[in-house]
């Protein structure tokens, strides 16, 4: 690992803006989140993965991964970040290093050629070059290659020096943000600015979630100038330093970017969430308050309140029909990034009982809010082992699990409905309208008649019983003159099979298509 990268990691790890970190005692704070991953008990992505999550949603950029095939051959094309424009970000570009490239040290040359080829073929707004473990190990200087290529080809080439072994996915998010701070933000000026320009940082427009909120901003006349990085154009990232305020959506991921925007360009930021009704309203209020404080006309706050009142009334009316369908049902929330307490309160308003919520990435502040909403902290979980969760669900201590893809099969195999609320999900649940979609998804999962069918015993789990083997003759019987529905015909009982049927010595027949 290069000296530059090491010092960058140290700086990012002791992030002063991070509430988790500042809550620690002095000594621990210096140490930052340097916790090493546990061999044999680690799950989740690497730093490269994290950087890619944070940066890939920039749509008009070619994301070129400098690595042997494992990093991107296995990793590409698996996210649902939506674009209103270019689809270039979805194309998987990698240098696909072969053994000879590595042994002979051809990595840098191949990278340079790859940059040229991708620019020739796709004319991207910029090329983001990602270092990975192997290329970091062989010492490829992607910074130098990017510099040379940018000069030669007239297209910005951004080195993202985040090899996977640098640390966790979360660290990768932050290092990805650092690459933007070092090479992109502040490199372009907008044609014009307005007092209503904001940055949204940490929303990745998964399945279009940003667009569920954007109509609200549109109505208030607020413009998303900088976006990192949901549905972002490269230019929007480059101009982010000219916004008046920043909303930081996923505080864990890119807090360093928000803080440094404040330090370098004086853009105030706040942490908010668009999940749940109250959080969405609070976020809108804070955006407006910050803009007014920065010099926007004072009527913005009043217009914001009017909008919130209207939208909240609308969403409550839209949610009301679901109440009888979800009331009294027990939800287990097991989520990662976003703060769940606002969703918890919205579900509780509908009579849903939240039997547990995970606090894996939550801050102390979040804990207090959840305790406040749920009465006590006994329903807060840190990490839950899959077996523990399976046992809990199997014992039917929850009716539905809201979580990310990793625990999907824990729920399904325990025959408990599951709703995807993590980044791979295919539905958008942000803003007011997203809350309706989330409740609809919960209703759809909970009330699918399939669950009852699945839980019923198999035909062979019920004893055959002493009833008649053959159905009663429904018509009259010409022999006994018994009328339909009368006394049953006496049939000789069939010889019971001994063991499974194949033991009966099936004669092979021309009509047999396979072994039974």
């Amino acid at each position: 690992m290069s000296q530059a990268l090491q010092s960058k990691i140290a700086a990012v790890l002791s992030e002063p803006g991070c509430a988790t970190n500042t809550a620690k005692p002095e000594a621990g704070r210096k140490k930052g989140c340097t916790k090493q991953l546990t061999p044999g008990a680690a799950a989740g992505g690497c730093a490269f993965d994290g950087a890619m999550i944070a940066l890939q949603p920039i749509t008009d950029v070619a994301h070129l991964v400098h690595a042997p095939l494992a990093c991107w051959g296995n990793g590409w094309d698996n996210r649902t970040a939506a674009s209103s424009g270019s689809g270039l970000y979805r194309i998987g570009f990698t240098t696909d290093l072969a053994e000879l490239d590595i042994v002979m040290g051809h990595g840098e040359k191949k990278l340079y050629r790859a940059i040229r080829e991708v620019i020739e073929a796709h004319h991207p707004a910029a090329v983001f070059v990602y270092a990975t473990c192997v290329t970091a190990l062989t010492g490829d200087d992607i910074g130098a290659v990017c510099k040379a290529a940018a000069e030669a080809f007239g297209t910005p080439c951004i080195p993202v020096d985040v090899p996977g072994f640098a640390g966790s996915k979360n660290l990768g998010n932050k290092l990805g943000g650092e690459a933007l701070l070092d090479h992109v933000i502040g490199t372009r000026e907008p044609e014009h600015t307005t007092p209503y320009d904001i940055n949204i940082i940490g929303d990745f427009n998964l399945s279009g979630e940003l667009w569920q909120v954007k109509p609200l901003l549109d109505r208030l006349g607020i413009r998303i100038l900088g976006s990192i990085s949901g549905d972002a154009r490269y230019a929007q990232v480059a101009m982010a330093h000219r916004a008046r305020a920043t909303m930081l959506v996923c505080s864990q991921a890119l807090i360093n970017v928000a803080r440094k925007l404040q330090e370098r360009w004086g853009i105030p930021y706040f942490e908010g969430s668009f999940y749940g009704i109250s959080d969405t309203s609070a976020a809108l209020r804070q955006i407006c308050a910050l803009l007014v404080a920065q010099g926007a006309p004072g009527d913005l706050a009043a217009r914001c309140e009017a909008l919130i009142a209207e939208e909240e009334a609308q969403v409550r009316a839209a949610l009301a029909p679901f109440r009888p369908r979800v009331e009294g049902r027990r939800v287990l929330l097991y989520t990662g990034g976003h703060k769940s307490w606002s969703v918890v309160s919205a579900l509780q308003e509908l009579g849903v009982e939240v039997v547990g919520t995970s606090m894996r990435k939550a801050t102390q502040n979040d804990r207090e809010r959840v305790t406040e909403i749920m009465g006590d902290d006994k329903h807060m979980y840190e990490n839950m082992a899959p077996r523990e969760m399976y046992a809990m669900l199997k014992e039917a201590r929850a009716d539905v699990l809201l979580s990310g893809g990793r625990s999907q099969f824990v729920a399904l195999k325990a025959l408990v409905p599951w709703v995807d609320v993590n980044q791979e999900k295919h539905e958008a649940y942000a803003g007011y309208m997203g809350m309706v979609d989330l409740v609809r998804a919960i209703d759809r999962a909970l009330n699918n008649p399939m669950w009852a069918d699945l839980r019923d015993p198999a035909p062979w789990e019920l004893p055959l019983g002493a009833g008649p083997v053959l159905p009663a003759i429904s018509g009259g019987c010409p022999v006994t003159n018994l009328a339909a529905g009368g006394q049953q015909m006496r049939m000789p009982a069939p010889r019971p099979a001994e063991g499974p049927a194949p033991a009966m010595g099936l004669a092979s027949s021309a009509a047999d298509f396979e072994d039974c």
């Binding site: 279009g208 008649p449 159905p471 003759i473 018509g475 027949s509």
Partner: protein, 461 residues
């Protein structure tokens, strides 16, 4: 639950029905060495034959009595006699199944009476069983013609027996019109897995399964042997698939005291469970074969994976009643909502049991309108539904008859645990194949300002 709704209009747009004689012909093709014979004009036969050929991609030995103007007016008895003579000469069939058409039924011909007289007179026809079913085109649809034909076969070829000489290991499987050859195979496999021997009637799995035969034959290439049909009297039980086979099962009971079970559907976990339960009882085995256990566990897993796509799915379906009931029931049990159901025949009790409010007795024009009104997300109907699918921009899952724009109609299997699993995947995959990238407009959001958009410049390299 559902009400049958008959639109009050004169015009039928894009017909959904295939005719009843065609259904009868299909049933006759499930008898070994058989030839279906339409008692009607040449065109009635030609259209039906082309329809069958397009679906099965096989030569179909469908013949006609070639009624002309004179014979139509004076009576077609001689045409039938001549046709049978010719068929016997040219193809030596063991079975000839006659189906009347609208033409002869409109005239009001007493084919049954004439045939009785003919058969009494023509002793030289021994070795060729001749069966007749009245199937006017103007009444019912493919499913009804099939039902009539199967009933006619049983009534003609299963003798009345005053006492029961039961083979406790044999069951009769009465197949409905919609069972594809692969589906018959699957049911036969399940029955055999319990040590029981099925007598399948009619057996398209041996005639229209699309196999290369060693020799050219002017008759059906396989099917239920004529000599075996009478053995249905000895079965321990009749397993009738689809309500359309209830009448046929009743005939077996009336003639030979064979009790029966009717399975309105064999698609979906619960319907197949019920079938299994009967097989367990008939075989007297509490333990199912391991393969069946595994198939059920696999279906359960498939249901878990597929329910993300079927839950809340708005389905429009149009096909014959029994198939509609089976497929709609399977989807409804997976959380789908049937927003449009169109069927071909008012016969049978299944329409009332459909998991929706209204079933339209109509055509594909009705399907298109109802699917649009109900904001359907997927269509299930025959290949003819491609026009509606195109107009609505919806995926089409081809079910029923005819399927002429895809190969392998005979291999489609949607019954049993395995078939249900395949069906659920089919639906889920059809939905996944719909490419929908969310757009800002979907949420009422404006796109980002133009000034941010990157304008590609030719690179100077």
């Amino acid at each position: 639950m559902a009400q049958l709704f008959h639109p009050r209009r004169a015009l039928s747009t894009n017909p959904l029905k295939s005719s009843a004689p065609l259904g009868a012909a299909l049933a006759y093709l499930g008898i070994e060495g058989g030839i279906p014979l339409f008692h009607g004009a040449q065109g009635c036969t030609a259209f039906a034959m082309v329809h069958l050929v397009r679906h099965f991609k096989e030569a179909i030995p469908l013949q006609t009595t070639a009624m002309n103007e004179v014979s139509t007016i004076l009576g077609g008895g001689e045409q039938i006699e001549e046709a049978i003579d010719n068929l016997r000469k040219r193809a030596a069939p063991r079975f000839i199944g006659i189906a009347s058409t609208a033409l002869t039924e409109t005239r009001g011909e007493d084919v049954a009476g004439e045939l009785r007289a003919l058969l009494a007179r023509r002793r030289d026809w021994a070795g060729t069983a001749v069966v007749y079913a009245a199937t006017p085109d103007f009444e019912g649809a493919l499913q009804d013609g099939w039902t009539r034909a199967v009933e006619a076969i049983l009534a003609a070829l299963v003798p009345r027996s005053p006492e029961r000489d039961v083979d406790l290991r044999q069951v009769t499987l009465l197949c409905p019109s919609y069972l594809a050859p692969a589906e018959i195979d699957e049911l036969v496999r399940m029955i055999r897995a319990f040590g029981l021997t099925p007598l399948v009637l009619p057996d398209l799995s041996a005639s229209l399964d699309g196999h290369l035969s060693d020799d050219w034959s002017g008759t059906s290439l396989g099917g239920t042997p004529v000599a075996r049909i009478a053995d249905a009297a000895r079965s321990a039980c009749t397993l009738a698939v689809g309500e359309q086979m209830r009448g046929a099962a009743q005939i077996l009971e009336d003639r030979a005291m064979v009790p029966y079970h009717v399975f309105p559907s064999l698609c979906g976990l619960k319907p197949v469970d019920a079938f299994l339960r009967v097989l367990m009882q008939l075989s007297g085995s509490q333990e199912p074969p391991p393969s069946i256990r595994r198939d059920r566990a696999r279906l359960q897993d498939a249901m878990l994976d597929a329910h993300f796509f079927t839950g809340g799915l708005r389905v429009a379906i149009a096909t014959d009643p029994d198939l509609m009931f089976a497929l709609a029931g399977a989807l409804a049990s997976m959380g789908a909502e049937i927003v449009a159901a169109v069927t071909t025949s008012a016969q049978g009790p299944v329409v009332a049991r459909m998991p929706c409010d209204t079933v339209i007795l109509g055509d594909l024009g009705d399907l298109e309108a109802a699917a649009r009104a109900g904001a359907a997300q997927i269509l299930l109907t025959s290949s003819h539904g491609r026009h509606a699918a195109h107009a609505l921009g919806l995926p089409l899952v081809r079910v029923g008859f005819p399927i002429f724009d895809r190969l392998g109609a005979q291999d489609i299997c949607r019954v049993g645990y395995r078939g249900t699993r395949a069906f659920l995947y089919e639906i889920a995959n059809a939905m996944q194949a719909v490419h929908h990238a969310p757009r800002p407009e979907d949420f009422g959001a404006t796109p980002p300002p133009e000034e941010f958009t990157h304008v590609p410049q030719p690179a100077p390299c």
